[in-house]
Subunit: 284 residues, 4 copies
């Protein structure tokens, strides 16, 4: 039995749902999940559908071709069909902070993250022992103003050689260039340590302390060229008080960061995120 | 244009989604919302679907007949089709606490609750002035051990005379009898002042204080014959500390109770709740 | 028995706590609550203390004099001593939204808010019936560009005539002028419908929708001349999804607004808020 | 400079706070933190105080003696004085689940948990590689019905040899005997995977699934002889829906468990927990 995931978005029109479910039924698929959303402001239709095919002759390539030639054309859809069996390749970029890395690798090891992690890249050497203890190759690629371009070329080469599907910036403290972003559009997940759009930029906990907020947060998002302004995937917050020092805020925030980043990774892996208009639709 | 809501549950089988969407397409309906759930432990399929019909000859009665004769029979479905235009009738039962009543009536007046409230019933006279100020008929039906049966007969008579669709117990401090429950199965919503199943029964805040919990909660649920054991619709919680007296817990809890009860009312009105196996499926 | 609340802030120094507790013991007071905070960045000490005095000759005026002449001078303190018995006078300003007003008046009537509400002021007439049903005088003072100054003079006159201690802007949709703010510094509480500092200004729910946040919030704060930038008293948030329309965000937000505003009012009434450096210390 | 933490509880009486602050001032201590709580139901007074002593002749032993002879006697106090410099020894017990262990060791390594971990004990061998990668001795002490007593003797011997101050059961799936509990009263912290007192006992996620709750939780508590009934230190919860399978609840719950357990460990280390009457007072 093969299982596929279909993602669609297009202008909203009458009859889309019935047409799609018919198409799947025609191909002898059994729909096991369907969810849809309509953005009524923009008049855009979104759908996520999972289907099982038990006929021995089933071919995902053929399905894609036929879908493209029929419905995709008719409704002018943007669409993707994924096999839900294949494990995808995820690269992790880190700097010196270890809490998100420990969290990701712990979940990876226990099988919670169904993904391959071919390597970890860092601009520092500090976290190599963690990579070693989890038996994951670690590439130290230092970044300075002068070496930024060549460093990025090395990163890109590694990403391409290992067929990386998406990248996780697990508190990677360097700004990623437009070149890399354009090669991995909506495929580079960052964790920002505030409830965006509050406290964009560096040192959000210092800003939060100064402003005297009673809540701090963390935001996972796809990066875009505009800093901290990409589509938000997940957010969470925690209550704090005047009694928290900046260090206290940072410690509390670490727990948010790791949970919110891991949530985003899981949503991405399960193809539950659709991006449009710099926002996300998150299917359940 | 007519808009309907279709709710289905039945044993899970291959082809249900396609069959239902086909049926709607055949009747010239445009599906504007579809969501489904499968309970994999019990192998039960659930669906909620909204559809618009713009043909002038559309009849909801005919649709029901045809659905019943075809799909409902074939898949052995339990199903409901509602017109989403019609306002339904909601009765409110109260005793002496006013916070849930104020909250409900405030939302009612502002149009947030799309419902009719033909009357309020209470076993006390205390809240009559509130009913008066909102111009809602108020029936004082005292309840004692001796009068319990006749009181209930009066309640039932009022419910029937006003074609009440569902009942809200807004901190009504009397146990409702099996007779009333059996006439309104999964149609009587109660608010319990704890995060059930913790602290079943009377005085949950006192029990919470005694146990020294760091979180209190509230639970809205349909009542069943077993006390505080009916299907849960919504729950919410708040953090508390040792510094809270019992009165402090009660005050904090009031805010939870009113929000959680109003959420349940809205979910019920919009036909987003399905009950099976003493649990609920809550559609988004 | 008399009960007082003492609030202090001053530069942090060795010996303050012992000196203050000694002072109270000397005056035959029994300390029933003490809490303190030190801002280690700014080196500022804060204290809140409650004490009971059962001697028949106790005079709060005398206590203030002696405190001022001794400790206040020695440690260069800013301080306040309040009688915790006296009910303080709170004015409410509204426009057209009723949810915060209902919430405040419901709590007021039930005795949860230990305060007097001599009147409600509004720039519209819409909410007069609510004021009437709670038997609270309602002053309709329209505000336009031309009448803004004279309107404010009327407001000030009412505030002064009724010895108003603090003002609550319960979704009052006008900008309050510097003149009024300077007469009631840290005594005008506003509710802003976002988790500040995100979405400052008008229409925060529209901005939240556009940015695609997964969390919305509300913030109660003292107003200052800079819009939405005053000291934050309380904040709360709720999770939302792409499925929320702007109207859905607004409806969900109303529940946050009313709870967060009422929390701020209660903290203010119980003298649990200290302001410095455009931030608050909130005692438990 | 020496820093101490003083914890007190006794029957509430007039004059305690002033007496204690006087005592500290007499000894040339500078109070840097003071907080207190009175349980008005039981009439019990609690205090936590931190003080710095810069005189070169300061002796914590002398301070204890003098405190005991004076105030402790006069007010019949139960009290503790701790040096806040000394690192305390924490033992970790695990079985097969690794998420809490990873979380604890990650925080330990990064310096967030200011504690020594002389060893890890487990009734299984599964998690030895994790202990190895963090360079912490790992003792495999299998437990069966027959070996339970001798296993416990081995555990006790290790605890005593290493001067263990407190024990953390990081998802240790064995019931700890009364003998061990009585040697470490209010010093063995367990994490239970539900919001106690709901779902006491084994398999709480299965029970939560069956009951159809909309919220799951985790509870850290000191163990007592009665199963899952000891004093609660910290609790947290997360919203779930009908769409969660049991496995989904378990995965979501893991995030709660690790955060709630680590919070309890930090509170215990910093001497912020006082136990009485099977409840806790948690100082900020």
């Amino acid at each position: 039995m093969k299982k596929i995931i279909l993602l669609i978005h297009c202008r909203d029109r009458s009859g889309i749902i019935a047409s799609v479910t018919n198409f799947i039924a025609d191909k002898k698929g059994n729909i096991v999940y369907i969810d849809q959303h309509v953005d009524r402001e923009q008049d855009i239709f979104f759908m996520r559908l999972e289907s099982e095919f038990s006929n021995s002759t089933f071919s995902i390539e053929l399905l894609k071709e036929e879908f493209n030639a029929s419905l995709a054309k008719r409704f002018e859809m943007k669409w993707r069909i994924y096999s839900s069996e294949e494990k995808i390749n995820m690269a992790v970029f880190v700097s010196k902070y270890d809490h998100c890395l420990y969290d990701i690798l712990g979940r990876y090891k226990s099988g919670e993250l169904k993904v391959n992690i071919p390597f970890i890249i860092s601009n520092h050497n500090h976290l190599k022992p963690i990579a070693d203890s989890f038996n994951i190759p670690f590439y130290h690629i230092p970044v300075s103003k002068e070496t930024k371009t060549s460093a990025e070329d090395q990163q890109l080469k590694l990403l391409e050689e290992h067929n990386i599907d998406f990248v996780v910036l697990a508190r990677y403290m360097q700004i990623v260039s437009g070149k890399l972003i354009s090669k991995y559009p909506n495929k580079i997940i960052n964790i920002h340590h505030s409830f965006l759009p509050a406290f964009v930029g560096a040192k959000p906990y210092h800003s939060a302390y100064k402003r005297g907020v009673k809540i701090i947060g963390a935001t996972s998002h796809y990066i875009t060229e505009e800093l901290d302004a990409g589509p938000i995937i997940d957010q969470d917050v925690a209550h704090v008080s005047h009694a928290y020092s900046i260090e206290g805020l940072i410690a509390k925030g670490r727990d948010l960061e790791k949970i919110v980043l891991s949530n985003a990774i899981k949503l991405h892996i399960h193809r539950k995120v659709m991006v449009y208009n710099n926002k996300t639709v998150i299917f359940s």
